[in-house]
Symmetry: C2
């Protein structure tokens, strides 16, 4: 049994984990210190070519601002996760996981990090999921306002210590989850993420 069933588990700063979530289980993602983003991916365990899709989700949910009651849809038009509870109401599904390439682009003076993209690829490799299989993640607690002219910004996340979002698994899933590694996304410092399965 996954050690996270009934117990909080910690994702250390700038790292990621992969695990299975069964249909009917809930996954709680917690921001234990506040102001920290967690990138979440969900693949169908039966065929990992099926994965959450921002475009299908925006289309069916008719909004970019996803919170309690909204569903995360797959590229095959199936609901993989439903958001059961959400104490923040601020998440992003527009932007791809940070990566070596995004570090070089946005932070040319900082050390290059493999970012959430590298952390997810590494954590998901036991299920045969490779870099090219990684789409836009659901970025829990990420603050990406869209201005009236369509321009976007990455601002510090508004989460307070203990804030959480809870997902209900509609099918058996493989989950990838990170404590995000990018400077702007996390207000300049890197904190852990906690999660539990119930």
């Amino acid at each position: 049994m996954n050690a996270a069933v009934g117990h909080d588990q910690r994702v250390p700063p700038r790292s990621g984990v992969g695990f299975e979530l069964q249909r009917g289980q809930s996954l709680t993602v917690i921001d234990p210190e506040g102001c920290q983003v967690a990138d979440l991916l969900a693949f169908a365990r039966g065929d990992v070519r099926e994965v959450i899709s921002n475009g299908r989700t925006f289309d069916y949910e008719e909004t970019l601002r996803l919170t309690t009651g909204h569903r995360l849809w797959s590229n095959r038009s199936r609901v993989l996760l439903t958001i059961e509870d959400d104490t923040v109401g601020c998440h992003d599904f527009l932007l791809t996981p940070c990566s070596k390439a995004t570090f070089r682009h946005f932070y040319p003076d900082k050390p290059v990090h493999r970012g959430c993209f590298g952390n997810l690829a590494d954590a998901l490799s036991p299920w045969g999921i490779a870099e090219d299989d990684i789409p836009v993640a659901f970025n829990c607690f990420m603050n990406v306002p869209v201005a009236n002219d369509g321009s976007i910004a990455v601002l510090p996340p508004p989460g307070k210590p203990g804030d959480r979002i809870v997902f209900w698994a509609e099918v058996d899933l493989v989950i990838g989850l990170t404590a995000c590694s990018a400077y702007a996304s996390n207000g300049g410092t890197f904190k852990p993420i906690d999660y539990r399965i119930d």
Copy 2:
């Protein structure tokens, strides 16, 4: 040589085409009658696992409203296409291609159509591209305003007869292009799309 080199070619209503575009060539997508959307996909010809990515593009271009001078980036953080000219300035990169599933969801009283998703999969199959390889397309001329609360709408496209958008190929590409099949996206009627390569 592709018959579209130097000559307008027509994509009939509710259909799609696939073709190769060489580095340094430009692709002009034309709305010949006005009020019609064209879904565009671009894959790297050398390895079709590399494809345009809305998330990478939003991240690097820092806007949802892409027009002249903006670039379409791949999942591998490479520029595949640059927008050279654009007489409309209204396009969408949020929503996935219409499909049998979206017809059943949004138009339960209408005949089910395979939509741009089916048309793209069929047109791109000679290059080994399958349904699961189809991400969010760049939807030329599509009108998807984002409200302040994040909600989105699909409104009639504002294109007038002869409006166009021109893309410059930064690498050798495989292109998928449709005349979109969904009611709301095209103001309720289905018109052709023209294109040419120069």
